[in-house]
Symmetry: C2
Subunit: 381 residues, 2 copies
DNA sequence: TCTTATGTTGTAAAGGATTACATATAAAAT
DNA sequence: ATTTTATATGTAATCCTTTACAACATAAGA
């Protein structure tokens, strides 16, 4: 079933059918309608391969991520795919499973599929692997690869703003002893977050106490162990910021097991704003990494890359603090945080009451909005 | 950069280059090596569109899901894509966003892309939407569409086994008053789960008490509200099974807010085994829907569909109970569950101890294995 | 009525691979 | 050495669209 059969049946040329298909203006409305009816009648579906072959593009984009099971990615994929669909572009995505060596394979596969552009949203990128794509002049966009920002399109994440908001929020609640649960220092993104946290502390004139920085792996269990270490300290922080939400979940569990009430006796702030942040108890205050914004910038950047080869300045996204229920004013009894006596006890039973208090005390303006299970606020500048 | 340039440079015909590319046996090793070197030298990448156009296949499969943000899907996608990659097949996936009407669009887009086969893994399928695909004789596979099982390939989920295991597990722990948090009855899958639960109760000679079945929506908040209703009953269940894990999370929250300790005073069992089931506190005992198995069967079925049009009997997958920490022996004080006096209190502090008890009492054989953050057991037949 | 401009349709040449068929070469059999 | 067979390579048709260009028709202007 090809365009010729349609043409024959409609008693027009293939060119006319093609024009109808592509909504070319130069075709009489009557002819157009007639052809469309025949197309319908014959269930004709144009052959995209032939079309792509002729026009030299596939309207296919590649999207490379680390791991689809990582809850960070679905929102990003969703947004990327949504934008693509608007443009009649389909997305093929592949994942490296965190192995930078597999990146080369992913790129190769996509290049062989003749995709029009590739977005590489993994945190570790081996430049070597990009060759396959650059050889054929394929537009690329990377996520937050500072070292490659001059040679390739990039979407940069400015971590400092998010941590700044988090620390300011805690300070406004009276916290001065703020700990941090860090990730492995060989991972660039973990390292950058740690630096951003320390910078934020300094900017708020708070002490960076090395004892309060626990380094661990990026999973729930890591956060749990790290929090147990922090809780075992004689002079312990009244608030803890983590490198990601999974670790924050572990931290909540550790606090719970130790009989430390969150947020009454300890405030916890995560990072990422995974869907799970809304389902923990108490719901997690966290720094949201704006994934759909990232996808948006990446996509636009690629569209631009198809038109021009010149690399424009990288778009930048800013993580923002999302205030939920895991942060609260520092406990009165602890005074300035020295010799904090953390009482055993349950979580607060009245988050709404807590909220009112919070709202009064917090220095940042806030906006309420419901999300899934809980009350959620977005800090506003 | 096309095959002709390679041919010219290598002083052979395009046919020979093509044969080298496709590993055809009829080419001298010396020639082959020479051609490969030229290909390397020129960075030649074959044009997949031209190839597909000629051979009439794309080695592209479509995968339609409801919503990538639903944590149910990533594991399924991952498995499907992994199998595809082994066969040199790429996957394009689209989502309906739970709107059966959008299915038609999804199918249409994939058909236009000339995919070789489509897997439709949404729970609600409108047969009308499949026409676009059947017209062009495209192999299709559906998930659990009982009403369409004679006309289309399907992967069927046999819910009853999972619920049977769950109820047996609870009964072995001494529970006889078992409640259920059901989903909207207009959703087929929710309805099927409810039926499977009731059947399991009957098979264990337990009473199906309508009062203990709370109907609600499928989200966290729904589970919370439903559990609050159940807890408010004078004569309330000592164990509750939910339609999915999100609702179970809500149920845990409600219990927590009401000062009811899980699993000491109340056992909770979820359904799906989402990644989050391992991160709740206590970690959730749940019925695992084997997503990678589903993906596997679906993929194999499609491969078969490409060769033959005859529809073989549907493969069936069985959900299995995964025992974690949200189930425990029924509290002694409650006797046979009548007039249960549920004491306020914290969660059990010693899951390991609890485990030993469980192991002794449970009738099903169990196997220990670590998973992410917690101790996890898989019930074995 | 005859140009000229405008709008509509048709013809045929790409686009880049695969592959049936023909042909040339090498190996084996006689 | 000659015929037969097997292997290696080349020629050219084919897959299905799009689109430059040509051709035609119609309407407007002179």
């Amino acid at each position: 079933m090809d365009i010729q059969q349609v043409a024959k049946r409609a008693k027009v040329s293939t060119a006319t059918v093609s024009r109808v298909l592509n909504r070319s203006s130069n075709v009489r409305e009557k002819t157009s309608a007639h052809v469309r009816r025949i197309i319908e009648e014959l269930n004709y579906v144009p052959n995209t391969n032939a079309r792509n072959l002729r026009v030299g593009r596939t309207r296919l984009f590649g999207l490379i991520i680390s791991d689809i099971n990582n809850p960070f990615f679905p929102e990003l994929i969703d947004a990327f795919e949504g934008l693509a669909a608007e443009q009649g572009i389909e997305v093929i995505f592949t994942h490296t499973n965190y192995d930078p060596r597999r990146l080369q394979n992913c790129v190769r596969r996509l290049v062989e599929r003749n995709v029009d552009a590739i977005a590489i949203m993994t945190s570790e990128v081996d430049e070597q692997a990009l060759q396959e794509a650059t050889k054929v002049q394929l537009p690329l966009v990377l996520l937050n690869q500072r070292s490659l920002q001059d040679k390739y399109r990039n979407v940069m994440v400015e971590y400092s703003r998010g941590f700044q908001e988090a620390v300011e929020h805690l300070r406004a609640l009276g916290h001065t002893a703020i700990g941090f649960i860090a990730g492995p220092s060989h991972l660039r993104s973990a390292q950058r977050r740690r630096e951003a946290f320390c910078l934020a502390l300094k900017r708020c004139s708070l002490e960076v106490c090395p004892e309060w920085i626990a380094t661990t792996d990026l999973r729930v269990e890591g956060g749990k162990i790290a929090m147990q270490q922090l809780l075992a300290l004689g002079h312990r922080p009244t608030a803890v910021v983590t490198t990601n939400d999974l670790m924050a979940v572990g931290a909540l569990q550790a606090a719970h097991l130790a009989g430390v009430s969150v947020p009454k006796d300890l405030s916890v702030i995560g990072f990422d704003d995974l869907p799970i942040a809304d389902m923990t108890f108490p719901a997690l205050t966290t720094i949201r990494l704006p994934r759909s914004e990232i996808a948006h910038h990446a996509f636009i950047s690629l569209l631009e890359g198809i038109r021009t080869t010149k690399v424009t300045p990288c778009p930048v996204v800013y993580p923002r603090l999302i205030i939920r229920q895991s942060t609260a004013p520092v406990a009165r009894t602890t005074g300035g945080s020295r010799e904090a006596k953390l009482s055993k006890g349950n979580f607060s039973r009245h988050p709404k009451t807590l909220f009112r208090t919070l709202k009064r005390r917090a220095s940042t303006q806030v906006e309420f909005h419901e999300r899934h299970a809980g009350l959620t606020r977005v800090a506003q500048k």
